[in-house]
Amino acid sequence: MNLLQNSELSKLLLTFFVFVCGTLSSQVPRPRGVSLSRAALYPPNKDFTCFDGSATIPFSKVNDDYCDCYDASDEPGTSACPHGIFYCTNAGHKPMNIPSNRVNDGICDCCDGTDEYGSGKECFNNCAEMGKSAREAAQLRAEVVKAGKQVRAEMSQKGVHAKHEKQNKLQELQRNKEEAEKLKQEKENLKHEAEKLENAALEYYRKLEEEAKKKKVEEEAAKNRAEALETFKKFDSNQDGLVSVQELQTRPSFDKDRNGEVSDEEAKWFLNGQEEVDFEAFINNCWTSIKPYMLMDSGLYTPPSADETVSEVDDMQEGQAEEEHEANEDEEEEETDDGEDNEEQEATPGAHEEYSVTYDDETQKLVDQANNARTAFQDAEAQVKDIESEMQRIQEYLEKDFGPEEEFAPLQGQCFEFSDHEYIYKLCPFDRTSQQPKSSSSETRLGTWGHWSGSESNKYRVQTYDKGQICWNGPPRTTIVKIDCGSENKVISVSEPNRCEYVFEFVTPAACHEQLEGSDVRDELHDEL
């Protein structure tokens, strides 16, 4: 066989050789259901001892359709033993071991039909055809693998290159970061200096400001009291110095539920639960409730729109929306952090728009200088942050396992779609999987990149994406991506074998390895020869 292991010839000869062997092998006397390699274990001129030694029987009881050995070794060619193995030669195709309980059960399991010799079932020998199409399929597969391997090498190269680039970039950023931090420190010192001067200069103006503020508050209180008094007098139609429930009931503004009348309760609500109030009680306890209604009447005040309230309620009721919210909270927290930073920046002193005061030239100059120093510091600080976040992105990239030769790296940043009759599924390798109904644009996350999860020897054949959106009344969605060699990157099927557990089948040249292909065929043939 060694001679035949290469070149075009091997294919031709292999077919021929197997055929010849098939013929030859059937001429070697051995019990039915025994492979040629094991024939020697059944010497016909001796008593047969079970392989496990459990019994010794005359050779005539081998394959006599009665199970004498616990290990089933006496009945390889019948269904008498529950755990037996029947061997089909399947000349022209792959030999096969089947459980001996499939012998003579009326189903053709071996392509040579040898398993149905006594059931009356007529089986046709279609090993030649099956062998041919299996070899064709293997050939086709080999071509895909061969082509895929080339692409894989390119992908690997890209991946390695990208990794180096990222590593270099990271080093560069590290250097930049150090410089930027130095700059930030300088700017911070300058800012402190400028602010010290500014503070001292502003001391005088702060007092002025407070006084102005106080004055404004007093003015407003007086105005408010005047308004309240005017309203009180208007309401007090019998001029007895008290506003009563009956008096309020004549005023349609207080028809809170808009049913056409001002009820006792409605009126009382405005009077803070009292039957009647004098002016002091009115301004202290009732005016804040009444004022908005008066303003509403005159069109100066609009309550929060009903639409907004309703949509909030909807969100709450829609479980999924809430779940989504929960599941994405991590991301949102990051955003919230950014938000806080912004607030801090706005809260810096110097912004005195409300009670604008005019400074003298000297003070104004110091304020301007301080403002400039703050801006310069903020710029320097942002610079550091930018560098840091870029470094973090690169670090995350470098921490991802793109395969032993970085061959899966070019898939990062791409997305691959698969449509069935209802949904469009999306696989974005190393990022996420998702599902979107064809009839709507809302995307459901089926999983977030987790880890490689193939078996020990085939780690890079399966990916797990977990922590997807939580299912109604169930667990968070997860996705298993099964990866196989293919000539192009493509999702070839999506299924949901368990509720909320998805399986994607994805082919990519990155998974094309020769060593994983079809070696088993040749092994078994060896056994036969």
């Binding site: 529950p82 309980n101 499939r102 929960e326 074998p497 509720r499």
Partner: protein, 864 residues
Amino acid sequence: MALLRFIPVLYVASCTLAVVKENFKSCEQSSFCRRLRGFKPEISHYELDLSDIQLTDNAVETKLTNFEDNSHFKISLSAVHGDIFRIQVDELMGLYPRYRPQYALNGEPQAAKLSVVDKSKDHITLQYSDNKATLHAKPFKVEFFKGDSLVAVLNSRGLFHFEHYRTKPSENENNEVEQQKKEDPGAWEENFKSHHDSKPKGPSGVAVDITFPGAMRAYGLPEHADKLPLRSTNGGEPYRLYNLDVFEYEIDSTMAIYGAVPVIYAHSPKHTVGFFWHNAAETWVDITNSKDGNVMSSLVNLVSGTQEHSVSAHFMSESGVMDMFVLMGPKPRDVVKQYASLTGVAPLPQYFTLAYHQCRWNYNDQDDVTNVVAHFDINNMPVDIMWLDIEYTDGKKYFTWDPVKFSNPEQMVNNLTSTGRKLVVIIDPHIKREAGYFLHEDSLANDYYVKNKDGSVYEGWCWPGSSSYLDFYNPKVVDYYKGLYAFDKFKGTSDDVYIWNDMNEPSVFNGPEITMPKDCIHHGGWEHRDVHNEYALTHTVGTFKGLTERSPTRRPFILTRGHFAGSQRFAAVWTGDNAADWSHLAISYAMCASEALGGISFCGADIGGFFGNPDVELLQRWYQAAVWLPFMRAHAHIDTRRREPYLFSEDVKNRIRIALRLRYAHLPLWYTLFFEHEITGEPVIRPLFYEFPEDSEWYDIEDFKIYNGGSHNIPVSLDKILAFYRGGSIIARKDRPRRASSLMHNDPFTLYVALDNKQTASGTLFVDDHASFEYRSKKYLYLHFKYADNTLTSNLIDKTDYPTKEWVERVVIFKPPPGVKGAKLTSKTLGSVDLETSYTSENKALVIRKPGVNIREPFSIKLY
């Protein structure tokens, strides 16, 4: 953190698997139950007129009067073949006709000869064989005697009550009436939750009590998720019989669930007596057992004054005639056969139906179905039948296929049959109201639906959304419906596709108690109230006709959830939507044993539990236990994780494989038992009291109390399935494991002989073609095996024949005689043949090697 906060909420939600009791009525919330249960006169209001009786060879008929309100009834007592008395009471000149169930009885019961043995002005005694019945005029009661022993008394507690139809009193009258006797507020109309029952005919309840002097236990009244012996219901809820789709039903409860079989058996070591209440309306039954307290002392005195034990039952139904059968026993075997003689037996099912069924809501598509079977094969685990739940349809339209997921059902079925497998698909009685759906359009055009009280078509909510319900009481509907199963109508089906009838209580998601309003109208003008418990039965009758006409040479297989007395003639049942919980595994045995006594032997429970995810221990134990119930199917809710047995670790797979193979090895036994059930009416599974009626120690086996005789410790492990062959039995098994039962037909038998203390044993075996009706033309073998005097013999019981390839490959004798050297087989064609024998370790069993005789041939094997 976000996830952590969320999960506990879910956990709580999924842990509160429990019925919402408020969705279902208590007796107090049901006007007729409240009225009839509250009816407790000092002395019966009813009186017989014995001055004017009509007597025929088989019956006596006379007048019964309620002297309180002067209403009149006709009453008859007749003898029915097989030691049964029948008592019927109906209104004399009633305002409306009263309903009699149309499908429960297997034809009109065969009359037997009745003779008068004693007659005076206050009583008359009639005799039929060694059974006697004495009708007492005032107070009205009927006593039943076996020989000279009083075994049952009807109306001994005076609870007999018959609400005759009457016109609704006008307002003024009402006031007067109210002064005399306060009418129940729900008598003329009644509300439950948001549902209104208009009750156009007013109150129409019927009730009777029957007492069984001497009885220690009562059994029957399936379907309830309760222990096998009936409990006393004093102070609790009566057993309720009202077919309902109860979501997450609870166990140890007298609540109604999917089926209703109103038969009860009262048992003592001396006598077993049965009582069949032939009524299809909502029914409640109170049970009083003297051993459960001293409530019965007065009753005991009433009956005879000396009885130590007594059981009494109080049957209360909302409408219908009173039609009662008293099954005179005297043993459990006799009463159950007597009941079977009335309502029929399950015809012999096809062999494969006894094998393992694999179901799930839902297998996603046709490839999924094919792959599941492929995985069973890869793992060398047997399976015979794949099931499809509602998702196979095109939008829940029955008799259609989802055009995408099940685009090629023929191919899918061919994939299954290519390895000897079959398919079962679901067909429910609710029809989607969708324009263009042929079934809906035909039903609208031809008036096939159940109606509202105003005559318009009733609409309810079920799986498809808005739905209407076929009215199988209309013969035209049955004619039409059965035709839907024709292969040219239900495309993609074949002889190898069978049917699952679910949701036929009927289940109506937005109806009162999740079912149809009682004032809906069926063909013939009957209210749904009159026929409710029979509706599922009418559904399966239609399906049965459809399958019989579709495949005239194959025995139909139908699984139904809703059921009634007589359902056994058409369908198997299962215990509905159980839960993945140990308590549900335990109760499955009691539930199916109760069904079996109620005539419905073909019963099983969803392996693993329908709701929830079983842990692997529970799942393994469930498979091991399910080997011994007649119907063996795994099923699971759509929200559960996949649990096909090949999905687990090697050790788990191995245990389940062993359990499945054990089931397949015993298929000849199951099949023989089903054949015997058809010819004798005996249940396929039997509680201990049935087999050992004189042995009162068995009655309380549910309590796990130890009685005299001590205890026997048996070491158990997860690998062990505790099951025993009774000493004295011979079991024929097929021990060669195959992928499917259909592939085992020609395989040889191993005969397991378990000797009793007298060194004897016997057994039977039924053999035929496993599928057709040919066995009804004597094309079968029915064998009797006997072991005595160290000789095993096989003989034909019936003069029949069936040529077969099946042969005897091995005989295993437990507790064998010592010192056996060999055996000699003698048969006609083989002559005399010497056989090798060998003892297993510790001489526990003797194995006779390869007798080789065809099972068709009588033979003997003598040990020497």
